[in-house]
Amino acid sequence: MVFRKLSRPGSARRVSDNVSDASGIEPLPQSLSQAETPPSSPSPASPPLHNIHPFASASSSTTLPPVSHYGLSNASDRAAPQHERPGSHYQEPDDRRSREGTGLPGDNVNGSNSNPMLSAAHHMPSHSSPSSKSVRLGKLDKLLSSNTIDVDALRNVCWSGVPQNDSRPRVWRILCGFAKADSLQRKRSEYAQQLIPSYYHDDPTRRSSDEEKMWHQISIDVPRTCTSEPVFRIPRVALALQRILYIWALKHPASGYVQGINDLVTPFIWVFVGEHIAGASQSLSLDVEAVSTLSEQDWLEIEADAYWCFTKFADPLAEHYTFAQPGIQKMVYRLEELVRRLDAKLHSHIILEANVQFLQFAFRWCNCLLLREWSLPLSVRLFDTYISEGPQFSVLHVYVCAAFLTRFSTTVIEKDSTECVMYLQNLPTSEWTVSDIDMLTSQAYVWKCMFEDSPSHLSNPTL
C-alpha cells in the first residue's frame, strides 16, 4: 500500500503499524503520495505536534493523513493531545492522562458503531467513563466551593461536558462572565427593569418599520422553534424567547435578527428553566406541567440569565449574521478544505461524483451550530464544550462538523447526487446519546490540534 511508504523512524512507525491492522483503508490520493519523497527531517512548523499525531514530524502540508482517523487507536498515542492543547483547557494532572489513556475497553460505550474513524475518538480520554467522570466531578465540586473560582480550571473540567447536570446553569453563568452574586443580581435587574421597558414594546406604533419587520419575523419564527420539545410551546416560554430575540436583535443592529439565532437561544432557555424545576436536570426532558407553574419571578430570572449568557456566547459570532453571512461562508469553506485533507475519498465523492456543494448541507450546520441535527439535550452537551472553549469556539465548531460528516463517510459515498444531499441533510442521529457528542468533540479536538497549531497543514495559507 502506498501509504506505508510514509513509514519512518519514530512516531510514523506507529502509524504504519496501525494502518496494517485497519481495514478498508483507501490508497492515498495522488497529491498525497507525492509528499512521500522527502521522508526525513521534521519541518520547523511541526515540532509542537510531535506528541500529537504520528504524522506530525512529516515535512509538508501534504503529509496530513487522509486516513488519520484510522491510525489513532494506538494506546500510547491516546493521551497525547492534552500536552499540546493551546491555552489552559484540558491541562489536568498527568495521573489522569495516564489512567484514561489505558481505558480503551471502557470507552466503547457506543460499540454499535463500527465506523473505523471512531477509533480516533478514543485518542482522547473517555469523558463518559465512570472513573473519569467522578474525577472531574470531584474537581468541579472543589472548584465551585472555593471562594475564588479558578475559571480556567473550570473550563478544563467542563470542556468535555459539565460532569454534573445540576451544576450546569451555574457553570454556564460563570463561564459567561456572571460569576459573582452581586453582578448576577445587577444583570438580572438590568434586564427586567431597563432592557425590557426600553426595547420591548407591544405597541406596534412605537416601532419603526425596520423594527416592525424584525418583530414580525421573530413572531413567525418563535412558534416554529424547537418543535420537538413541547416546552417551547408554553406561552411563557415563547414570550421569553420572543423578548430575548427581539431585544438582542435591537442591540445588535449590524446583524439584527437572522433565522437560526432562535435555535441558538434554546439551549440557554432549556438549561435555565431546568434549574428551576426539581429533578429536571437529571432527565433529558422537561415536564411541561412543572414548567407551566413557574412563578413570574422565576421566569424573569430564567429569561435574564438566558439573555445575558446567550449575548456573551454569541458575541464572537457577529460576522455570521451580517449581510451575506461571511463568517458562515468562511466556516463552510474551511470545513470543505478540512474534509478534503482528512477524507479525500469522501470529499471527492461529494463534490465530483454527487455534484453537491458543501454550502448545501453545511450552511445549516454552521448557522445553527448543529442544533438542527440532533436533539436539544445533545446540543446542551455540545454547548458545554463551546462555552468552555471560549470566544474561539467557532474554530472548534468546524472540526466538530468535520468529525460529524466523516463519521457517516461510508454511507455517504454510496449515495448518488440527490440521495446524497438528502442524506446529508438528515443524517441519522435519532439514536444518538451524549457519548456520541463526546466522541465528536474529542475527535474535533485532536484534529484541531493538528491543523490549528500547524497551519501549513492546510493547503491554503489564507484559511
Binding site: I220, R224, V258, A324, Q357, L359, N367, T418
Partner: protein
C-alpha cells in the same frame, strides 16, 4: 423532434422554490412530495431538498429535484450557488399577507439575474399564492394577476392551499409542461427565430395561466 425527446425514459429537473419568509414554501413541497401537512415545520435554514417522481406519460418519468430556499434575505450572492442549473422556478406568496405579493417582483428578478436557460432565456417560473384556506386570505382580481404574470414573465399563477391540498398538483403540472416544452425547443436547435419570439409568448402564457386558475379558484372554493 419533440416525440424523440419524449422517448427518453427519465428526465431530472432542478426546480427552485423561493418567496418571502413563512409563505409556506416548505409546506407546499411537503404536501406535493409526501402528501403531508403540519403547522410545525421549522424555518428553513439555507436550503432543503426533496425529490418528486412523476410518471409523466407512458414513456417518461420526470424527476423533480425541489430546492426549498430559505426566505430570509441574508444570503446575498450565496443563493447563486443554490440557483445554479435550475430549469424551473416557483415563487410563493402568502395570500393572507399582502406584502408578500409585493415581494414577488424582487424574487422573480433575483431568479432572472442569477440563472438562465442554456439559450439565454429566463427559466420558466410559476407564481403560487398559498394559504387560500385562511379566512384572511384575499384573492386578487384575475386581470390584475394576469397583468402581473405578463409583466414579470411568469408562466402562470395559482391560488393554493398546502393545508387542504388544493391546486398544488395543477400548478406543478403546468410548470413541468413548460419546462418540457422549453427543452423540446432547445433540442430543436434553437437557431430559428422562434426562440427570439419567446418573450412575446410569455405574455400569452401568463394569460393561459390565469385562465387555468379561474377554474382552480372554483376548485379551491369547493374545498
Amino acid at each position: 423532434m419533440a416525440s424523440s425527446m419524449n422517448k427518453r425514459r427519465e428526465r431530472l429537473f432542478k426546480v427552485i422554490v423561493t418567496g418571502d419568509v413563512a409563505t409556506g414554501k416548505s409546506s407546499i413541497i411537503k404536501r406535493y412530495v409526501h402528501d403531508v401537512f403540519s403547522t410545525h415545520y421549522k424555518a428553513t435554514i439555507g436550503v432543503d431538498f426533496s425529490l418528486k417522481a412523476l410518471q409523466w406519460d407512458d414513456d417518461m418519468v420526470v424527476r423533480l429535484q425541489l430546492w426549498d430556499i430559505a426566505g430570509q434575505e441574508r444570503f446575498g450572492n450565496m443563493t447563486r450557488v443554490f440557483y445554479k442549473e435550475a430549469v424551473g422556478g416557483v415563487v410563493v406568496y402568502d395570500m393572507s399577507r399582502n406584502q408578500t405579493l409585493d415581494s414577488v417582483r424582487r424574487w422573480k428578478k433575483d431568479i432572472d439575474e442569477k440563472v438562465l436557460m442554456n439559450d439565454g432565456r429566463p427559466i420558466p417560473c410559476i407564481l403560487i399564492g398559498n394559504k387560500s384556506d385562511l379566512p384572511a386570505s384575499v384573492s386578487r382580481p384575475a386581470a390584475e394577476m394576469d397583468a402581473l404574470c405578463q409583466e414579470l414573465g411568469f408562466v402562470g399563477w395559482f391560488e393554493t392551499s398546502a393545508k387542504n391540498n388544493s391546486n398544488i398538483d395543477t400548478a406543478m403540472q403546468t410548470l413541468v409542461s413548460r419546462i418540457l416544452e422549453r427543452h423540446a425547443d432547445a433540442a430543436q436547435g434553437g437557431v430559428k427565430s422562434g426562440n427570439v419570439v419567446s418573450l412575446g409568448s410569455s405574455g400569452q402564457s401568463g394569460q393561459q395561466g390565469g385562465a387555468q386558475n379561474k377554474q382552480s379558484q372554483k376548485k379551491s372554493g369547493c374545498c
